[in-house]
Structure formats: C-alpha cells, structure tokens
Symmetry: C2
Subunit: 336 residues, 2 copies
DNA sequence: CTGAAAGCGCTTACAG
DNA sequence: CTGAAAGCGCTTACAG
C-alpha cells in the first residue's frame, strides 16, 4: 500500500515539489504556467495521488480532527448529538474522533490525553463528575475545548447548555396549576450540575406555589435504572394511583417509568399524567403520546462547532457560554 | 498552545534527541545509563511533555486511527456497534474516527477518501448500495478494510456478517409450525444483500413447508418508515386480525409496526404474533415482551477489530469472511 | 552508552 | 514563472 507522493509527481512532471504543492493547493500568490499546472493535475490523476494530511498537519499544526467525548456513544441522546456534530463539523472540513468516558473521570482524562496526542484541533466534551482538574488543565494550556450538554461548577470552559432550571421550573408550574393530589419527581442521584438544575427548577416552582400537593422524589443511581425506578414507583405510586403526575428528568428514566405503567396497566392521562425531559422514539410505543421537553440538539451542535472553530482560529480565550432554550412539546399524556 | 517537544527535553538534559526518543519509547536495544534515563523522565514530567503522534505517524506510517463508516451513527444498531468497536479498538491502542454515509454511495466514497487522507490504518465499513467500486479500489491498493453488518455482491472484502438467511429460515419455520392463517413479512425495498438474505430465508422456509397459509409481503423504502408501515398494515392486516403472525426484518420496522398495533389496540399474542430482527430498548414499552433475533454485536465488533488489526500488521491479503450466529430470544409475543 | 544524520511528506518564505 | 532549502517532531540504522 505504498502511496504516491508529491515527490513522485514532481519527478514525473520534471518540476520541483514546491511547484506541485502550489498547484495542488491552488495557491493564488504563485503564478504557475497553465501548461505545468495542467500536466501536474494529469499526473496526479493517473498515479492516483492522494495527499497525506498527516504530513501537512505536521507542518501546518492543524489536523482538522476534532475529539468528541461523551458519556456513552450508544446512548440515544449522545449518538444523535454526535450525528449532528458530525454534519456541522464536516461542513467546516473537520472529522470527528470519538470516545466514551463511561462517567469515569480517569477514563475521561485518558481520552483527553489520547486526543491531545493525536493533535486534534479541539475537543467537544460532556464532562463527567470529578473532571474539573482535567478541564482546567486543558484551559490552562489553551487547548480549544467546548462543553456540551453538561458543565462543571468552578471551571469556566466555553460551552453549550440549555436552560435546564428555567424550563424545569416553568413546566413544573404547569403541573402545579392542574391540581394534582401528588407530584413525583424522578431524577438521578448525581452531582452533575445540569441535572441538579432540573431538580432545583422543579423545587423552586413547588416552593413558590400556593397549592397544597404532596411532593415526592425518586432519585436513582446510574446503574440498574429500570429496576430502581420500578421498585420505587411501586412504593411511591402503587398499583392504582389517582390524580398523580410524574415528572421524569431524562428520557431513560421516563422509559423505565412508562414501562412500569404499561406493566401495571395504569392509564395515562386518566390516572397519571406524565412529563419527561428529552425525546426518544421509544415513546411511540406507549399508548398515549408523551409530553416532553425537547432540547434543540441541532442548534446545540451547530453552536458547539462554531464556538470551537472560533477558538481554533482566533485563539480568543473565549469564556463564552451559550444557553439555548428547550421547548415543551405538549401531548396527550398531560391533559387532565 | 505551544507544546514542548523532544528537542526541548534534549536541550534541557544536555543529550541528543535520539537519546530522548530511546528513553521515552523504552526501547530495549539501546542501553542508556540509569542516570540520564531518570533525568529525561523528570524533565519530561516537569515541562509537561506529551508526544506528538502526528510526527511519529509520519515516520512510522501508522496513525493508530481507524475509520468507521456506518449508514447513520444515530441509528441505535450502529451506535451500539460503534460503542463496542470503540472498546475493542482501544484495547489495541486504536481510536475511532466516524462518518455517516446516509446510504449514499457518493458520500460513502467521499468518506473513504477523507479517511484515507487522514491516513487511518484501516477502515470498518457498512457499505451502501452502489459502493462496489469504492470497495474494490480500496482492496486494489491493499487498504485494510473490513465490512460489518452488510456485504456487497461481487466484491470479496474481509468482513463480519451474521447468518441472516439461515436464522430467518429457521425462525420462519417456527412460525409455520404454529398454523397461522396468515403470515406477513415486513421488510425493506432494497438491494442490500444482507437484507435480501433475510427475505430469501423467509421465503425458503415458506416454500419448503407443506402448510397452507396466506403469505403477504410489505416492503417499504428507507424514508418515512413509520407512515408506510402503518398504511400498509392497515391494508394487509386491518383493524381486528385473527391468528396472524408478523415477521419484521429490522427493529425499526418492528417499532413502526408495534406502534400500529398499540394504536389500534390489537392484542399480542392473542390476535397477532410477532417476531422481529434486532433488539431495541423500545420493545420494553410494548405491553407484551417481544420475541426477537439477537445479533451478537459484541462478538461482531471483536472479530471486526481482530480481522482489521490482522490485515494492518501482516498485510496478509485476507479474504476471510466471518459469519457469526444470531440467536432467537423467545418471549411472549410469539406464544400462541 | 550516546550522538549525528537522514528521512517521513508536506508547506512556504525567499531568491532568482 | 519556478526551484532550493529549511523545517514541522519524531524514529532508527549506523558509527563511534
């Protein structure tokens, strides 16, 4: 698999490698005769020349590679995000190299090191709990980084988030207005700020409301989500609830909860109303259409790439955080 | 973001760059005094040296990058595959760069070119219809490639598939034995061989059976799957079917079909039995557990990486195809 | 035990 | 209009 190089073309064309380089890169500054230009293109074509970007990278210090670190690429939210990022990146000539951190700060760090050694031009990361130091180090050496989805307290990395607290507060207020006897918040036991924001938004709405309504929380770990949600819903919700609302703070939690409802033949919205964060195709198999909070994934991807590309090209030490608005998609699951 | 290089270390340590390189790479052949060795490690540590793999790649002609081309990384099957490939690749020191072809032969070709320019050591691809030529070219220049999931007629690229036809035939036989009045095969209108294999397996079982049963086919395009499946099921299955079986040749089709059943309150397995190719979390929201054909994704990923790594390191022009066995996971949706 | 040197495939300021 | 040359950050056969 010996590839042909610029040198081969130069030899065949009887010109210098410099000339070949100028022609192939269509540089304007240098005027090359139409004749040699044509000859060079022809030869390149016939010997099937493809440029070695590695060599170019070494010289230009740009690889056109972007590192993407998510918690798990097989997670629906992240794979959809990855897809959107891929498209936006490609438009600017970047390709994505990916890694999954598994919510492990050590692995997260390892991935940033690996990517940095591969000389990626920048990184798009969903940081995990405990990776503050790693992000600080990257910022310190001015490595272009943007965070997506998540952020961490105490480190100011440019990044994209949505208005988690606000949208949670607003949607919770809607629930409160409907006079349920009981509202159950289903969330994660976590330190991740963006998830806590959702919880705080919920609580803020509850506290500023004058309604008397029983509030319950179900908080589960990241493992065995389905089992935990099922057993806790069994305790908190029971088998034949009435006039109750469930507020799920992620699509995974929602799917776990909905499967409990299906198994126990609990009717939505007759017995229980449902709101969930994030969409998923899975909702389509539920008998009632689910009301959910939709994140603007495409816009998030676009902004992330834009922000990163800006850093890469200007070295402006942007401390810019972009907050986009999520949107409530109201469906039947929430019509009392 | 000026990084320190081997040269900086050499200068600070008062040795040559060669010596630094030997020490950092722990080469055995060269014996370096414990003293300079220690000094070099210390200096590397304090100036926060990280190797530039791009430079190394240029010299060694190995990037430790693998290109992955799937139809769409946001597709559940492919994102799960990507995750498994990522893990297996990492064990051998490779990282993955990804691209989605969108079933477009031109884009597929572009991606292979892009990846080849990035000097990936090899590619793992799910080829699209019409990309025979592209694959042949890669084979011709001996670029290490393996196919996953799919394969193409007429080009012998090493790759991993499952026993699509066989498992389809076997599972269809099970259906036939249950004496349904009607069996409906739901598949794609496609030229992709691995999907046709599923269809052929189905048909083979039907033809070699002595039962008299009404057989119907629903074939849909890749766009608007849900709508097409719904409208065709409405025609073929109706609103209150009896003693009918549905055979879905992918999880996407199954989800579309199941949502039709939910919407029309058709009972599984009382009225209709269901078998589907591939699993998905989505099945969990269906009232009845779904019987499905499980692909051994982890093993497929492992074999793919192994096969590719073999090609990369030996340049053995392997024409090896690996066929792994899928497995029927029998659940209630298929208990008459 | 260590270093000088060539070279991987490019780019680009400079000279002519 | 074109070329000689330096250099990006490494590796590695060779010499001493």
């Amino acid at each position: 698999m010996k590839r042909s190089s610029i040198k081969d073309i130069a030899k065949l064309a009887g010109v210098s490698v410099a000339t070949v380089s100028y022609v192939l890169n269509r540089k304007e500054g240098q005027r090359i005769s139409e004749e040699t230009r044509k000859k060079i293109f022809e030869i390149a074509e016939t010997i099937n020349y493809t440029p070695n970007k590695i060599a170019k990278s070494l010289k230009t210090n740009k690889t056109k590679l972007l590192g993407l670190i998510v918690a798990d690429i097989s997670n629906e939210f992240y794979s959809l995000m990855a897809r959107n990022l891929e498209d936006k990146a490609l438009k600017l000539g970047y390709t994505l190299i990916i890694g999954s951190s598994d919510e492990n700060a050590e692995k997260f760090k390892k991935l940033t090191e690996l990517f940095s050694q591969q000389q990626v031009d920048g990184m798009i990361v969903a940081p995990v709990a405990g990776s503050e130091k790693t992000l600080e180090n990257l910022m310190h050496i001015k490595y272009p980084v943007v965070t997506i989805d998540r952020y961490l307290k105490g480190v100011t990395v440019p990044g994209i988030t949505i208005n988690n607290q606000e949208i949670a507060e607003n949607t919770t207020s809607l629930l409160l207005n409907k006079n349920f006897d009981k509202i159950i918040y289903i969330g994660y036991e976590t330190e991740l700020p963006h998830l806590l924001d959702r919880q705080h938004g919920f609580e803020k709405a509850v506290h500023s409301s004058k309604k008397t309504v029983e509030i319950r929380h179900i908080l589960v770990g990241l493992e065995n989500i389905a089992e935990e949600v099922h057993s806790q819903l069994e305790n908190t919700l029971g088998k034949s609830p009435e006039n109750t609302a469930l507020y799920f703070s992620s699509n995974k939690l929602a799917v776990a909860g909905l499967s409990y409802l299906v198994k126990n033949n609990i009717k939505v919205p007759e017995q229980v109303s449902v709101i969930a964060f994030d969409e998923t195709e899975t909702y389509h198999l539920f008998p009632t259409e689910i009301t959910y909070i939709q994140q603007p994934i495409e816009a998030m991807a676009e902004e992330a790439i834009k922000l990163l590309d800006g850093q890469i090209n200007n070295y402006t030490a942007t401390e810019k955080r972009v907050t986009l608005s999520a949107k409530l998609i109201a469906k039947a699951s929430f019509n009392k």
